[in-house]
């Protein structure tokens, strides 16, 4: 079984990495997790996002949740913001689209225009 001692070692490695890179949160990813979102598969989308970040060892991304944002027909909805830039809102972002989203936008920095439903300044 996993132990808290193991977590302590993970913490030390994470702090060491941070000292090397001196980087904080670069990208914010928000998953809409209202009833509509969950019914459309938002949990599987978020699980896939967390899985990709774990697999690719991406350390500068913060993944959080929000509720229904009033665009229920576009669920699952995921928003991505790099630094202080524009927040891009993606619709119908099922778990199958997550690897591409992470690769192109979150890591690569290039928004995927055809998946975006709305851009706010």
């Amino acid at each position: 079984m996993k132990s808290l001692e193991e977590l302590q070692k993970i913490k030390e490695r994470a702090l060491e990495r941070r000292r090397m890179s001196a980087e904080g949160v670069r990208v914010r990813v928000v998953v809409a997790m209202g009833t509509c979102g969950i019914a459309a598969g938002a949990r599987d989308t978020m699980t896939a996002i967390l899985g990709e970040l774990e697999k690719q060892k991406v350390t500068d991304v913060a993944v959080t949740q929000t509720g229904c944002i009033g665009l229920c027909e576009y669920e699952p909805i995921v928003q991505v913001q790099i630094g202080e830039g524009d927040m891009v809102t993606y619709g119908k972002l099922g778990a199958d689209r997550v690897p591409t989203l992470i690769e192109k936008h979150v890591v690569g920095g290039e928004p995927i225009a055809e998946w975006a439903i709305k851009q706010t300044a």
Binding site: L4, D44, T47, L50, A62
Partner: protein, 197 residues
């Protein structure tokens, strides 16, 4: 008929209500009693709570869906799922104290949705709100009277990690996922996939 395929989606949905109510701690209890053929789900939060009038309406799908849009459909669907599986649903709330929601099911009922992806669900709960703590407790009582229990408390994890390392750090994520997978495998014994519950 329900909008969710899995009971863990219901749990996540109720959890979101607690998070929106400003809770700093949410307790998730799952109790599977195979000798009594009972599955009980419970969520407790220390959020803002609701006035009695809203609690009364929340249990009524017709009134709720028509008048309190913000409450949504999640709660009436969980109530319906429990009641059609020989179980019960309850919710109690106190302003300024918090809300407790629970649902029970006949464990073996043919219409009972599976618990589903509990590992992914709990992971979403504990990572999605950086200032919210979660205490997840899951017990399985087998027919011979034996009990297996799994517990995950983010307060203990945060105490180790401190303020500088988030639960969403990739290596921490891996740790959490494996901890949950191991816990669920232990609860259901060898040879049974956690998702098969």
């Amino acid at each position: 008929m329900t909008i969710f395929r899995e009971l863990s989606q219901h749990l996540l949905d109720i959890f979101e209500n607690g998070a929106k109510a400003g809770a700093s701690l949410i307790l998730l209890n799952i109790d599977e009693d195979f000798s009594a053929d009972r599955l009980t789900l419970e969520l407790r939060d220390n959020g803002s709570g609701m006035p009695a009038e809203m609690v009364r309406r929340i249990a009524d799908p017709w009134v709720t869906t028509r008048t309190t849009r913000k409450v949504g459909l999640g709660i009436p669907f969980l109530k319906q799922a429990a009641e059609m599986c020989g179980g019960e649903f309850g919710i109690e709330s106190e302003l300024g104290v918090g809300t407790r929601t629970w649902a029970s099911f006949q464990h073996s009922h043919i219409d009972r949705p599976p618990l589903g992806d509990l590992t992914g669900t709990v992971l979403c709960m504990i990572v999605g709100f950086p200032t919210l703590d979660v205490l997840y407790q899951h017990a399985v009582h087998d027919v011979t009277g034996g009990t297996r229990e799994f517990k995950l408390d983010t307060r203990e994890l945060r105490e180790v990690l401190g303020d500088d390392v988030a639960l969403s750090d990739p290596e921490v994520l891996g740790f959490l996922r494996e901890m949950l997978e191991e816990g669920h495998a232990m609860l259901y014994g060898e040879g049974t996939a956690p998702g098969a519950a």
